[in-house]
Assembly symmetry: C2
Homo-oligomer: 372 residues x 2
């Protein structure tokens, strides 16, 4: 792939087969992100439509459903399989620690699933979600929207074809100033129990997963440092207190190819996100990398030329749901599947263990045997 091919690919779906059907989605969990990003993307998609919404707040569910000509269900109704014919597939957007329950329900009813990232709060639960979907013969996709962005897909292809020589290292950051005024997250993200951790689980997963995707490799060992100040690291036993170690996390990942990544994520501090991939003959830098539909800028600097890409025009969340529907309609396994999500949860569990023990941790040897 040459640079012109990269530029052309960056504004084009590489997977589109134009199926003449669409997939009706049930959206489980109606937090800010689901209401303001995902549902509009499902409505805007070529191959998706909104069939049902599921929430613990009946009034909110009714309000959202009405506005979109969809059914409204309570969690109990969803769990009991009411109106299962109104949707073909399920989008799980609840707190991380609840994904497994809703994925199980979907699998029980033979529905395919796209689950928000991280796949679950612990390796054990993420693995259970993957295995349950495999047993039920339903598709499980992890909602890594970076992997359905045409530019990121084009970059992965460019790298795999030697565009920057041998990739040697990756660096990245996602600082999301939760308390200081970045666009407000749903509050459960600050609950260590529901989220499975802090900044690592919520935002650190982006540079980790995107690097894995761009380099086509998986982690072998990790080490990490986590820090938290009040209120994040509070020892308070008050119900609802946010308690996690990683207001800030720094972690190194040794990948199977020999490349190494060093990444940092924070829940406080001046916000920014970026990713940089270095190879023997070039480097790629992505500015404003991980915010949803953010104004990304990509700079590709090779021995031959420097190219800057921006404003690539396709909405990554529309791409995400359309890609999921395309996979279902064509029988194609999604690239960001359940196993992909499991590898990240497992890797992040290893980072937490490294941060707690001060030792480099093998990703395979750790939570893969004992859960975490």
């Amino acid at each position: 792939m040459d640079l012109q091919a990269l530029i052309d690919a960056a504004s084009t779906r590489d997977w589109d087969t134009d199926p003449e059907e669409s997939v009706s989605m049930a959206v489980v969990g109606l937090g800010n992100y689901a209401r303001n990003v995902s549902i509009p993307a499902i409505e805007a998609g070529d191959y998706t439509e909104l069939g049902a919404v599921v929430s613990g707040h009946p009034e909110k569910a009714d309000r959202v459903a009405e506005g979109h000509d969809a059914l409204s269900l309570s969690y109990e109704q969803y769990a009991e399989g009411e109106e299962v014919d109104a949707y073909d597939a399920v989008y799980v957007a609840t707190p991380n620690r609840l994904h497994l329950d809703h994925i199980r329900t979907a699998a029980d009813h033979g529905k395919h699933v796209i689950s928000e990232k991280p796949l679950e709060a612990t390796t054990e639960r993420a693995r259970a979600a993957v295995e349950r979907c495999e047993d039920a013969g339903v598709t499980l996709m992890t909602a890594y929207r970076m992997q359905t962005d045409p530019v990121i897909r084009a970059l992965a292809s460019f790298i795999s074809h030697g565009g920057i020589g041998e990739p040697t290292k990756a660096m990245g950051e996602f600082t999301f100033d939760v308390l200081g005024g970045s666009s407000g997250p749903d509050q459960w993200r600050l609950d260590g129990e529901l989220a499975g951790g802090g900044a690592l689980m919520d935002v650190g997963v982006y540079p980790l997963n995107t690097t894995r995707y761009l380099l086509g490799t998986d982690p072998v060992t990790v080490d990490g440092i986590a820090r938290a100040t009040e209120p994040f690291g509070s020892k308070s036993e008050d119900p609802g207190s946010p308690r996690f170690a990683d207001e800030h996390v720094h972690f190194n990942v040794e990948f199977a190819t020999g490349a190494v990544g060093d990444f940092t994520a924070s829940f406080t501090g001046k916000a920014d996100s970026w990713l940089e991939i270095v190879g023997s003959e070039g480097r790629i830098r992505i500015e404003n990398a991980f915010g949803v539909n953010s104004d990304r800028e990509v700079r590709i600097d090779t021995d031959a030329a420097t190219v800057e890409l921006s404003d690539w025009g396709l909405n990554e969340t529309v791409e995400e749901f359309d890609y999921f529907a395309h996979c279902l309609l064509t029988g194609t396994p999604p690239e960001p599947d359940g196993h992909d999500g499991l590898v990240d949860v497992q890797t992040m569990g290893a980072v937490y263990r490294s941060a707690a023990t001060g030792k480099r941790v093998s990703v395979d040897m750790g939570p893969a045997r004992s859960g975490d």
Copy 2:
């Protein structure tokens, strides 16, 4: 310090007291850097002049000395104190592993010393250099040119006055493509014995030391990963074979303030260098950060404004030697003193131990007791 004061300070010496004398320098070691960067800086300085050059190659020494109206000495003549009245102070620019010998000689003759970074190849030898100079009552400065650059000095002051709120993390990289065509280093940098290591000792020290300076804090623990391919990691016993673990190094540093830095350095790969400091209310990014007299660009992004500085006009190596001379002439202890250099060598020794053992290493508990 407000942003305007920062901008003003960035183009001004903050230490100048205009002494009416100058310091005559002996330059020990005539490699590329000494000949092409340091000697011209000494000649250009307000308070420095070249008194003598010392080399193992008499013809080279004579040629350099002639061109600069200076004496020419062999290493033996220097060690024996010949022509000691021709210079007031010594600049040591030999391979790292030889710094101590030449620093000892200078101290024996009551000469002040500025030594290239890293201060030595091992903690034990770096500490011996510091102690010898203390015992002799001579000044020892480590040649950290970043610390005498007016912009970096202005940034340190800006940060210490709360310009970016509470500093929480630092990230940085120095990739110097030694084999691939970056401006050629002296070959001893590829000799693990003479250099004390690989990319970490030669270029990784820049983001480490500059972060320590900007944040005004020292390392407490480190962890690191080092990787090398042929020829760097060769096990060959051939004389002259480069052998070190760190063609690539990634390391995290926990600082005493609670801030954490993650840094990477490489001897191969597409070259670049940068440093980024993140605080609760702002961030600072330095592009083209560490190359000598490179075209740096600094972006300061605070809650109040974004400022970009470039082309600050003062030559950092002229500043470095003039600052050293200023310190001698005014009896001011230099900020980048021998202890400053020792802390970095000690920290890097801990990174190497972490890379070898897979464990986070306390900087104080390690090489401080046993040497390395």
